[in-house]
Structure formats: structure tokens, C-alpha cells
């Protein structure tokens, strides 16, 4: 029994456990225990990974296991992880753990809520351990669908419309993706033999360039929708604004990275030739994403809208870095996936906690919160500093790695795109400090806010978990960066052949 299976099994068992509970208290307890075990497993996996690499195991993927699932189409349940997947699993475990504690007071249909939430997480974990395209796609859909229910039922504001828009746009992406994946499948044996969904096997063959040219954009855009690729990002502001706290955390924190991870692991890795040829189109689009998202955030009035646009910008940076097609930038991209996942989860958690107290997310109605809820306010400010890329936090490490990578190209096109993207650090500072200045500092605007209570223990636990990870990476980035670099070897080998 391969212990990676536990990453799917534990959430499923947790869901079954929740079925036997009666109310919120039981449901949240079971969820907390289940996700606590999951987090412990993830930490164990990280150490296990280091020890096995330290022992000299240089296989591309470790802990691989292969089960026939649907033999006639050669579909397998094929799992395995490299350093990048391990990091993504750890990220997911941290975010879902924090998410459970952020939903501690979910009174309405609490069992159903926790079940949907953990079902979503199951899909994400499954996605990251899969090495078979079909299985991967299946888990991907499993992660996207509970989202509709979570937003539509437990959301706020125009929740049905937001849920509908989000789901339809992501499904549209999935449709492109499905075509892309099938295209890869039917071209996976150009020299005869059985077609396969196995990523590692496909990576050994060269998909005919004509097919690559057709299926690369489909796959990239299909995953890109989830990564909020301009102009397909519009599900993000309304979707995040309507989603309940833990769902925003999970969605912006982890699900958006599924898109970026897919672009990396499937689109670029399997179709490197088309990727290098067509990168310029997407470099333009992602550069726009980065700056446009940041500028879009400046004048927003709803805290969640600000963060949603900020996510468009920051996730755009991930995709941008992937398209730079060099080792440093790719390392930065993965770092940014993890870093942004943690930071944005922290942000959405805090926004939820503030909203739970003030019952508004309109920044014009808040002010001077530092005086009344110092813990949450300080946390929010720290999250802001992390988000604008202050050294000592993970965001700085990720962004700088990306920028150094982007500047490894000396031609004018890449230079201009890189400078445009780098300039986002100023715009980010503007919108972050604007919000901090308005809602946290200054005199207390609403007298009713003077009665607010500061964070409770589960809120402190939730935010502190995320912050520790953010600071840990920010202060000592070398181990993570080296782990990722070590796992970038296969993709770089494939890309090098087609660059220049």
C-alpha cells in the first residue's frame, strides 16, 4: 500500500465520519481531526521526501504506484510525487487545516458544509498526486463541482449568480481542457503502440508539432481559466466576493494553483515545442493580467474584490514566470504558487473574520480597526506587507526569484514584458497601503465597532498556522527553493531542446 493513497483516503474517511455526526460541534471536530491528520501526513511526506532524496534516490517521481482502472482505454490510477507536488500537497494541507478553523462557527447546514469543503480538498489532493491525465482530470472536476454548491448555498450577496458564473466559466475551461487532454492521448503513441494517459510515458515521446500547436493553447487556456488568465478572469471577483470564507481561502489559495500547476505539468511539460513557440502570446496576456489586476484593485471598495483582483495579478505572475521557460523563473513560479496560496488564504481568512464582526466588507464603512481588534488588524497588516513583497515573507522570495529569472532573457520583448511585470510591485504597495490606511488606521469610524471582540482561539490558530508558514519560507527559503530546483530537471531538459 502506497501511503500517498492516504491523502485521498483520509479526506474520504473524514467525510464518512461527518455523516455520523449530528451538529456543528461534531462536524467541525471530525473535520479538524481529519485535516489535522492530513497536515501531519503532509509534514511527514515532506521529511520523507527529504530523507529519500538525501539517501540518493534520483528518480523523477517517488512513491509511484500504478493501478489499472479502465484497461480498454489504458486509463490508470497512477500516482507519484516529486518535490513540487510534495510542496503543493503541503500547501493544500495547511490551507484546508486553516480553513476548517476559519469555519468554526458555520451554523447553517454545517455538516453539509464541511462535507462539501472536504470533498473539494479531496479533489485537490488527488489532483496533485496523479500522474495519469485522465485521473488528474477527474480529480480536477471533483474539486470544481463542490464549489458551485459551496458558493450557491453558503455564500453571500448575489451568490447564485456568482456561483453560476464561476462554475460555467470553469466548466468552459474544462471543455477546452478535455479536448486538449484527448488530443494529447490520441497523439501519445506517434510511433505506434497503445495510447496512454501516463504523463511520464508521454513525456518520453515527441507529440507531432502540428498536434502540439493545436492542443497546447487549448490545454493552457483550459487550465489558465482557473489561473485567472486575462481576459478569462472575471469569475474571480464576483466568485470570491460571494464565497464563504473557507471557500475563498481554498479557492484562491489552492484551486487557482491547480490551474497554474496544470499549465506547468501538462501543457508545458508534455508539449514543450509548441510551448516555446507560442509562449509570446501568453506572455502578453499574463503581463496584462499582472498589471491590469493590480490596477483594477486600486479603486475597489469591497475587501474581497480587492483581494480577488490582487489574486488575478499574483497568479498572473505565476503563469508569466512559467512562460519565461528557464529554471530560475520556473522555480519562482512554484514558489509563488505556494507563497500566494498561503498569503491569500490568510487574507481571505482575515477578511472573513472582519466581516463576521463588522457585517460589512465596504472599506468606506470601516476605520481605525487597529484600536478595537488589534490582533486581527496586526495580522491584516502583516498579511498586507507579505503581499506587497516585503523581505522576510514568502512573497518576496517568490517574486524576486521570478524577476531574476525573467531578466535572464536579454531580448527586447522579454525585457519590456519583465519591466512591465516588475512595476507591479509599486501598484501592489498602493492598493495594499490604501486599504490598510482606510480600514485599520485613523480614528474609529463607526462607534458600533468599539464593541467588537478580538480574535478567538480558533481564529488565532487558523491565521497563525498560515503566518508561520509564510515567515518560515520568507526567512529560510533555501531548502524549498532547492527542492523545487531539483525537481525541475525533467521539464528543463525537454524545454532546452526547443529554446532558441
Amino acid at each position: 500500500m502506497n501511503f500517498l493513497n492516504l491523502f485521498v483516503a483520509v479526506p474520504v474517511l473524514t467525510i464518512i465520519g461527518i455523516l455520523f455526526t449530528k451538529d456543528l460541534k461534531g462536524a467541525r471536530l471530525v473535520s479538524a481531526v481529519g485535516m489535522g491528520i492530513q497536515l501531519a501526513l503532509a509534514v511527514f511526506l515532506v521529511f520523507f521526501y527529504f530523507s529519500i532524496r538525501g539517501a540518493g534516490n534520483l528518480h523523477e517521481m517517488i512513491l509511484t504506484a500504478d493501478y489499472h482502472w479502465y484497461p480498454s482505454l489504458n486509463i490508470h490510477y497512477f500516482i507519484g510525487v516529486d518535490g513540487i507536488a510534495v510542496a503543493m500537497i503541503a500547501l493544500t494541507a495547511i490551507v484546508i487545516f486553516a480553513g476548517v478553523f476559519a469555519s468554526w462557527q458555520m451554523e447553517f447546514l454545517s455538516r453539509e458544509f464541511f462535507i462539501s469543503l472536504i470533498l473539494l480538498a479531496t479533489g485537490v489532493f488527488g489532483f496533485f498526486i496523479s500522474l495519469d491525465l485522465f485521473t488528474m482530470f477527474l480529480f480536477y472536476e471533483l474539486a470544481v463541482i463542490p464549489m458551485y454548491l459551496l458558493i450557491g448555498i453558503w455564500g453571500s450577496g448575489p451568490k447564485e449568480a456568482s456561483a453560476m458564473k464561476l462554475t460555467l466559466m470553469l466548466m468552459g475551461g474544462s471543455a477546452l481542457l478535455l479536448v486538449g487532454i484527448l488530443g494529447i492521448y490520441f497523439n501519445s503513441a506517434p510511433n505506434g503502440g497503445a495510447y496512454t494517459f501516463n504523463i511520464l510515458q508521454i513525456a518520453k515521446v515527441h507529440i507531432p508539432i502540428a498536434a502540439q500547436r493545436f492542443f497546447f493553447p487549448l490545454t493552457f487556456v483550459g487550465f489558465g481559466v482557473l489561473g485567472a488568465l486575462f481576459p478569462l478572469h472575471t469569475w474571480s471577483p464576483s466568485g470570491h466576493a460571494s464565497a464563504p470564507t473557507a471557500v475563498s481561502m481554498l479557492h484562491a489559495g489552492v484551486l487557482m494553483k491547480l490551474g497554474a500547476y496544470g499549465c506547468f505539468r501538462v501543457a508545458i511539460f508534455l508539449m514543450p515545442e509548441a510551448a516555446t513557440q507560442m509562449a509570446w502570446i501568453f506572455i502578453i496576456l499574463t503581463s496584462i493580467s499582472v498589471v491590469y489586476g493590480a490596477l483594477g484593485a486600486i479603486m475597489q471598495k469591497d475587501l474581497k474584490f480587492i483581494n480577488a483582483y490582487s489574486s488575478v495579478s499574483h497568479v498572473g505572475l505565476i503563469l508569466f514566470a512559467l512562460l519565461m521557460m528557464n529554471k530560475i523563473a520556473m522555480d519562482g513560479a512554484i514558489l509563488q504558487m505556494i507563497s500566494h496560496g498561503l498569503m491569500t488564504a490568510l487574507f481571505f481568512a482575515l477578511i472573513g473574520m472582519i466581516y463576521g464582526r463588522t457585517h460589512t466588507r465596504d472599506i468606506r464603512e470601516m476605520g481605525g480597526l487597529m484600536k478595537v481588534i488589534p490582533f486581527l488588524a496586526v495580522m491584516y497588516m502583516v498579511a498586507g506587507f507579505a503581499s506587497l513583497g516585503l523581505p522576510g515573507f514568502s512573497g518576496f522570495v517568490a517574486e524576486m526569484t521570478i524577476f531574476v529569472g525573467a531578466f535572464q532573457h536579454s531580448d527586447l520583448f522579454h525585457r519590456v514584458a519583465s519591466v512591465v511585470v516588475v512595476s507591479s510591485i509599486v501598484i501592489t504597495a498602493v492598493y495594499i497601503l490604501r486599504v490598510v490606511g482606510i480600514i485599520l488606521l485613523g480614528p474609529v469610524k463607526n462607534k458600533a465597532h468599539l464593541e467588537l471582540k478580538d480574535a478567538s482561539w480558533h481564529e488565532k490558530l487558523s491565521t497563525a498556522t498560515l503566518l508561520v508558514a509564510i515567515v518560515g519560507i520568507g526567512v529560510l527559503p533555501l531548502w524549498l527553493s532547492d527542492t523545487i530546483m531539483g525537481s525541475l530537471h525533467p521539464i528543463m531538459e525537454r524545454l532546452v531542446a526547443y529554446l532558441h
Binding site: 523581505p391 518576496f396 531574476v404 488606521l441 485613523g442
Partner: protein
């Protein structure tokens, strides 16, 4: 070889203090945090003095000084050469800065025990002071340009926190934001400069970049963009970062507003240490500027020269004593930039470099002292405005004497410290660039005028009817002032040309009477003018102001630079770009997506009639379809 690895403790102590007081301070009595912070910094201070003694006097050899890197740990690695280290680099300028930063910071710590007593957030204040000191020491000790950038950003953040210390005051919050964003914008240039430089040279390390005759720059001088070589671009962009932190025109607008912070913070950060970080950066990269980008160095000189004159003129018209000092700071930093800009490399040609560092040192002493004096006055008068002050010499004798010493120092009157350093700068400019020399010469006169305008207005003039009788400040505020007054008075006798030189080898420096006599003379003229206008209450100054008309008004409004910035940010960026983008996104881009949905619904509504449930219609369609398909197949397969 002496082991210098203990130097790492100098920044680590304030870091520890920050973490401990930041996390636990709220639970203690306020004073505990203050004492812990002060004692911690006292240790750093003495360690710095010891390190300076060891470096300058115990390891000296005939060939001058050497760069020593006792600690260098790998922090992040991009390639085998492109790596970021965290380490400690000791050379004359970093050791000197170590002394400056810890001295002023230690004094500010002691002073604040009195000045900030009873303030809400006393613990937070000390935590931030420690954070700042840690970051600033990090900048100073950096072994590579990326480490410097990291601490550079942390310095900016701690400056933000301290300017906005009184966070329920909207003007303080606005000033903090402005400072952060303006310097962040400048740092964008710094960062791009670093990225370009490191891409071509393949390293971040100062020691590799500074190696004489290195071939690392072959690549970057070869490329050009818009007719300007890569190295010129890179070094200009790096200077942009320096200009932001050091508040050089036109990036100076944040500094006067930064006076919203507590006064000891203004003394420490916005007068003595952080704002000279830009000067330090240029000095740190000086060999690169000199050998590979001499044009940029000339440009730096002109920027410094313009800023020093421009700020000095504004300083004459301001009524808030901290703002006068802020503009004075701008002007004096301009002097340092001029010094670096006109400097050559090695021996007497490098006089400008030595002079710039010398002035940085003396300026730190007398400007910090001026601010502490101002704080001492504000503490008792409860106002920043000159009109609320007068004849304070009777009530605050020690503040008076120390303030006078600092004023004489900044005016360049011998034997006070400022005389020696300013004289060196003027001499260097005299030999290298006559235009800059005259600019700085005139500025020297303006300097002594505005500082004595301040001095006479505060300590002489009318005897204001004070609500509470002003009193001398408590001992913990007075002692730092006396200490700094000693520095401002005698600091000029330190033989900088033996210690801090461009190529780390001592050279002989002699007083140039041709320069120093006229410079003292113009200083005295400025003082005399201030004496006439402000010693006794009279309306002469108002009459002069009136007769100057528009000239005076535009100077009083700081030449409307702030308004210009407001126009660009509010009108163009916020309302002209950000707001339309928000609209465009929700109406056009999202509207298009929703439009697709609506169209799909409409179409499906239209074709819903096909599923009518009538068998005859189904059968008709089925048969018709079959016939068409059959014909199509026959046509494509057989008949062509």
C-alpha cells in the same frame, strides 16, 4: 588577523529585542520594553566602537585597509554564481556607518525614554526602533547588493511604521503611506538596476564587482539601449533607489511629511541614518560608478547640487521647525551627493569621496542634535511652530547651548565639525567642477541664514506668553544632547583622510585657505543677516517677503511639487487609469462573458420548440435527415 565574527551580534541584538518586545511586550509594563531596547542597543553600540577600534587601529597596515568578510551564509541560490548571501562586510565605510548608526540609535533610545514617556504604544515604539536599527545595520553590513536590497526594503517598512506611529492621526497615516510608496517607486528602479547588472556580471557580490580590473563588466558595457550603454542604465537605475531613500529632487517629497513621526524618529531615521542610505549606496558602488559609469557620477553630482540649493531656499520660508530641519537635511544630503559626484579615485583625487563620508558622519551628529533639540522644545512648548516660541534661552539653557553648537556646526564655523567636512566638499568641488562649487558656496550662506533664523526665532526674539512655563527637559533627554554636542563640536578633528578613503589607502589632506576663508565668511554673512532680521522682533522679514511677491509665495509652497504629484497620482493614475480599468473589467470584459451566457440562453429558448413531443414532426425530421445524409455520403464517396 583579528576575528571579526562577533560583529554579527551588532545587528542580531536589536533583532532579538524586536522579536521579544514585539511578541511579548504588550504584557509587560511599558518601561520594561524601553529599558530592554536601550540596554540591547547599548551593547551594540559598544561592540561597534570596539569593532571600529579594532578595524581602524589594530589591523591597520601600511598598505591601507582591507575588506573583511567574517560571516557569509548562503540564503538563496539561483545558479552556481548568482547567489544571495547573508553576511557581514567590513571596510572603512561600513565600519564608520556601524558607529554612526549605533551611536545615533543609542542616543535616540535613551532620549525616547523621556520623550515618549506615557505615550500609548510605548512598547510598540521600542519594538519598531529595534526593527529599524536591525534593518539599517543590515544595509550597512551587506556583502552583496541583493542583501542590501532586502534590508533596504525592511528599512522602508520600519520607516513606514514609525512615521505612522500615531496611527489614529490621518496626517501621520498619509505621510507614512506617501513615504513608503515614493521610496517603493524609487526602489523599482533600484531593483531593475540590480537585475540588469547581475544578469550581465553574473554576480551580486560586492567583493567580485569591486575587484580592480575585473572583466565582469565586459558584457554590460557592450550592450546598449536607446543609445545608452547597459552599465549606464543599470547604475542610473540603482541611483534612482538611492535618490528615493535619500530624498533627492524630485523624489524628495516624502521627507518633509515624514516629520509626522515622533521627533526622536526624525532624528534617527529621517536625519542621521536612513536618509543617508542613498549616499552610502553610491559610496558602496563608487568604484563601479567611477570606472564604468562616470557619466552617471556627474549626473549624481548635479542632482545633489540642485537639491541642496533648492531645499535650502525652501528652508528659509518654513515656519514649522521640524520642516525647516527636514529641508535642511535634504540640502545637506545634496552636499554629500555633490562630494561623491565630483570625486575621483585614489589619493587626493578621491578627496570628494572622503569628504562625502566625513560630512555624512558630522551631519549625523549635528542634525540628530538639532532634531533632539527641537524635540526637547516641542516637548515643553507643545507646538512645532516658530510663532509659539521665543526667548527660550531663559528657560532651557542646555537645549540652547547644544542647539547653538549644532547650528554653528551646520553653518561651517570653525572649529565645529561641519566646518571641516563642508570645507573638504567645497575644496573637492572647487578642483573638479566650478559650477557645483559656486552652487554649494551660495548654499552654504543660505544654510547659515535659515538655521540662525530658526535659532533666533526660538531662543531670542519675543518672550511669548506661555500657558505653562517652559522648562528644561529631563536628564534622559539632555544627556544624549550633550553627548551629540560633543560630537558636533569636536567630530571635525577626526582624520578622515587617514581612515575612510576611496581606495582604502590614506592620503595627506591640507586645508585650502582659498576655499575655507570665503566659506567661513559667507557663513558669517548668513548668520549676520539672520541676526538683523530675527534677533529682535521686527517686521523687516515680512516686508522682504512681501516685496518678493510671487517668488516668496511659490517658495513657501515648496514650488508646488506636492501639488504636481497629487495631480499625477489622483487625477491621472487613480481616476484616469485605475477607475476606468475597474469599470472596463466589470462592464466590458465581464459583460462579454455574461453576454455569452445570455445569448446561449436566448438561443436555447428559441430552439426549445424543436423538442415539441409531436411524433409526426420527429419522423419528418428523422427521414429528411437520413435522406440528406445519404445523399451527402453518396456524393462524397462515389460521384466525383
Amino acid at each position: 588577523m583579528t576575528n571579526f565574527s562577533y560583529v554579527i551580534l551588532i545587528p542580531l541584538i536589536p533583532l532579538t529585542v524586536f522579536l521579544v518586545t514585539g511578541l511579548l511586550g504588550m504584557k509587560w509594563k511599558p518601561l520594561v520594553s524601553g529599558v530592554i531596547g536601550t540596554v540591547g542597543l547599548g551593547i551594540s553600540f559598544f561592540l561597534s566602537l570596539f569593532a571600529a577600534y579594532q578595524y581602524f587601529f589594530a589591523t591597520a597596515s601600511a598598505g591601507g585597509y582591507h575588506t573583511i568578510i567574517p560571516v557569509n551564509m548562503l540564503w538563496l541560490s539561483f545558479t552556481s554564481t548568482l547567489q544571495i548571501h547573508m553576511g557581514v562586510l567590513l571596510d572603512p565605510i561600513s565600519v564608520m556607518m556601524l558607529v554612526v548608526v549605533t551611536t545615533i540609535s543609542f542616543m535616540a533610545h535613551i532620549y525616547s525614554l523621556g520623550y515618549m514617556k506615557g505615550e500609548k504604544g510605548f512598547q510598540r515604539y521600542y519594538a519598531f526602533l529595534s526593527l529599524f536599527t536591525f534593518s539599517m545595520l543590515g544595509v550597512v553590513l551587506s556583502t552583496n547588493i541583493f542583501q542590501m536590497y532586502i534590508f533596504w526594503e525592511l528599512v522602508g517598512a520600519s520607516s513606514f511604521l514609525l512615521i505612522g506611529f500615531y496611527y489614529d492621526k490621518p496626517s501621520a497615516v498619509a505621510a507614512a503611506k506617501k513615504a513608503f510608496i515614493v521610496t517603493r517607486f524609487a526602489d523599482l528602479g533600484f531593483l531593475i538596476g540590480i537585475l540588469i547588472l547581475s544578469f550581465y556580471t553574473g554576480t551580486f557580490d560586492f567583493s567580485k564587482l569591486m575587484q580592480p580590473g575585473t572583466s565582469l563588466f565586459a558584457g554590460i558595457t557592450g550592450v546598449s539601449f536607446l543609445g545608452i550603454s547597459g552599465i549606464t542604465w543599470a547604475m542610473t537605475l540603482i541611483f534612482m533607489g538611492a535618490a528615493g531613500k535619500s530624498a533627492m529632487f524630485p523624489l524628495h517629497i516624502w521627507l518633509p511629511d515624514a516629520m509626522e513621526g515622533p521627533t526622536p524618529v526624525s532624528a534617527l531615521i529621517h536625519a542621521a541614518t536612513m536618509v543617508v542610505a542613498g549616499v552610502f549606496l553610491v559610496a558602496r558602488m563608487f568604484p563601479i560608478y567611477h570606472f564604468h559609469a562616470p557619466d552617471v557620477l556627474i549626473f549624481i553630482g548635479y542632482v545633489g547640487g540642485f537639491t541642496s540649493l533648492f531645499a535650502a531656499i525652501i528652508a528659509m520660508t518654513q515656519f514649522d521647525i521640524k520642516r525647516v530641519l527636514a529641508y535642511s537635511t535634504l540640502s545637506q544630503i545634496g552636499y554629500m551627493m555633490v562630494a561623491l559626484g565630483v570625486s575621483g579615485y585614489g589619493g587626493e583625487a578621491g578627496l570628494g569621496y572622503t569628504a562625502g563620508m566625513f560630512h555624512l558622519f558630522t551631519h549625523a551628529m549635528f542634525k540628530a542634535l538639532l532634531f533632539l533639540g527641537a524635540g526637547s522644545i516641542i516637548h515643553t512648548v507643545h507646538s512645532n511652530l516658530m510663532k509659539d516660541m521665543g526667548s527660550l534661552r531663559k528657560y532651557m539653557p542646555i537645549t540652547h547651548i547644544t542647539f547653538l553648537a549644532a547650528s554653528l556646526a551646520i553653518s561651517g564655523i570653525p572649529p565645529f565639525a561641519g566646518f571641516f567636512s563642508k570645507d573638504e566638499i567645497l575644496t573637492a568641488a572647487f578642483h573638479a567642477n566650478k559650477l557645483l562649487f559656486y552652487v554649494e558656496y551660495i548654499t552654504a550662506g543660505i544654510t547659515s541664514f535659515y538655521i540662525f533664523r530658526l535659532y533666533f526665532n526660538i531662543f531670542w526674539g519675543k518672550d511669548t506668553n506661555y500657558e505653562h512655563k517652559p522648562h528644561e527637559s529631563p536628564l534622559n533627554m539632555v544627556i544624549p544632547m550633550i553627548f551629540l554636542a560633543l560630537g558636533a563640536t569636536f567630530g571635525g578633528f577626526i582624520p578622515f583622510h587617514d581612515l575612510v578613503t576611496s581606495n582604502m589607502k590614506p592620503f595627506a589632506d591640507k586645508l585650502n585657505i582659498l576655499v575655507s576663508l570665503p566659506s567661513v565668511a559667507i557663513g558669517l554673512v548668513g548668520i549676520a543677516a539672520a541676526w538683523i532680521l530675527y534677533k529682535k522682533e521686527n517686521d523687516l522679514s515680512d516686508r522682504i517677503a512681501k516685496s518678493l511677491g510671487v517668488l516668496y509665495i511659490s517658495t513657501f509652497h515648496k514650488f508646488y511639487i506636492d501639488e504636481l504629484y497629487l495631480f499625477v497620482t489622483k487625477k491621472i493614475i487613480f481616476n484616469g487609469i485605475a477607475r476606468p480599468i475597474a469599470w472596463f473589467d466589470s462592464k466590458i470584459v465581464d459583460g462579454f462573458m455574461i453576454g455569452i451566457g445570455t445569448v446561449t440562453m436566448k438561443i436555447s429558448y428559441k430552439i426549445k420548440g424543436l423538442q415539441s413531443g409531436e411524433l409526426q414532426q420527429y419522423a419528418f425530421v428523422f427521414i429528411a435527415g437520413t435522406i440528406i445524409l445519404a445523399l451527402f455520403l453518396l456524393y462524397t464517396l462515389g460521384f466525383h
